[in-house]
Subunit: 134 residues, 2 copies
DNA sequence: TCTAACCTTCTTTTTACAGGAAGGTTAGGC
DNA sequence: GCCTAACCTTCCTGTAAAAAGAAGGTTAGA
């Protein structure tokens, strides 16, 4: 059984985060010491690591909760997991498209900005008017 | 002079957002009616639109505040604006890279998941072990 | 005059923690 | 056996950028 800082280190999370997950009932410690310290079992560490990776994959806490219940269920239907994952991929694709568009616009604007002290900066002009710089 | 809902509509923002911007002192209405209604001048609408576009360009409120002060200053040095913009582009590039990586990993995992009721789902397996599926 | 559609301020909620205060516990060194 | 540093606890506040809602005042049109 591991104390919270060991559990956090082994799961590559912060102590604050692990405590938070316990508070919201996402991963509760297997037990408590006589002094009230949270004690984590090996399987808890695995769950924390699981959550950590899913979070890094930008799954929300609620999605992590769903995934965790599937993970804990030996009879888990992989169709559900796949569905959530495909949904997440679609979401990432949307975000990629938006970001790419934004990047293009900004770099176009920056390319037309002299970068000196003249007051006619197309970045400002564009933001003010909503027009695209030619 | 426009009431808040007209101002919001013309700037393509919500009433809540416009009120919020007034509260934090980002764009204060030119005046108030006898009844206390916020009244926005044409120039306020321009500023709100400016902020709206900058926000959609993922500038933070604080960056918007900086940009706005540059926008309001006729003697604005465009070098500063260009610097902020280039910084923002670099940030977007980092985010694009991360998202692309994430997308590849997830789509790889989903591609190896049968999506039926068999319990051996590689997505779950990967999240549980932290290993990459071959 | 009535009513729908406005408007006001104030408070709470959201997400996923981080930071800090006040105080108890433990491990190692002397 | 004591000291101190490094743990641990709970509780409270703060973050970004609004959204949502409550309670109540205003206005425009029929």
């Amino acid at each position: 059984m591991y104390k919270i800082s060991d559990a956090a280190r082994r799961a590559a999370l912060t102590v604050k985060t692990v405590r938070y997950y316990a508070d919201i009932g996402l991963v509760k410690p297997a037990g408590r010491s006589a002094a009230g310290y949270r004690l984590y079992a090996e399987s808890d560490i695995a769950k924390l690591g699981f959550i950590g990776r899913a979070r890094r994959y930008s799954f929300s806490i609620e999605q992590c909760r769903d995934l965790l219940s599937l993970y804990e269920d030996d009879q888990r239907p992989s169709a559900e997991v796949k569905r959530i994952t495909l949904e997440k991929i679609a979401e990432i694709d949307r975000k990629l498209g938006e970001l790419q568009e934004l990047r293009d616009e900004l770099s176009h604007l920056a390319g037309n900005c002299h970068g000196d002290s003249r007051p006619d900066c197309p970045i400002i002009g564009n933001l003010a008017s909503g027009l695209t710089v030619q």
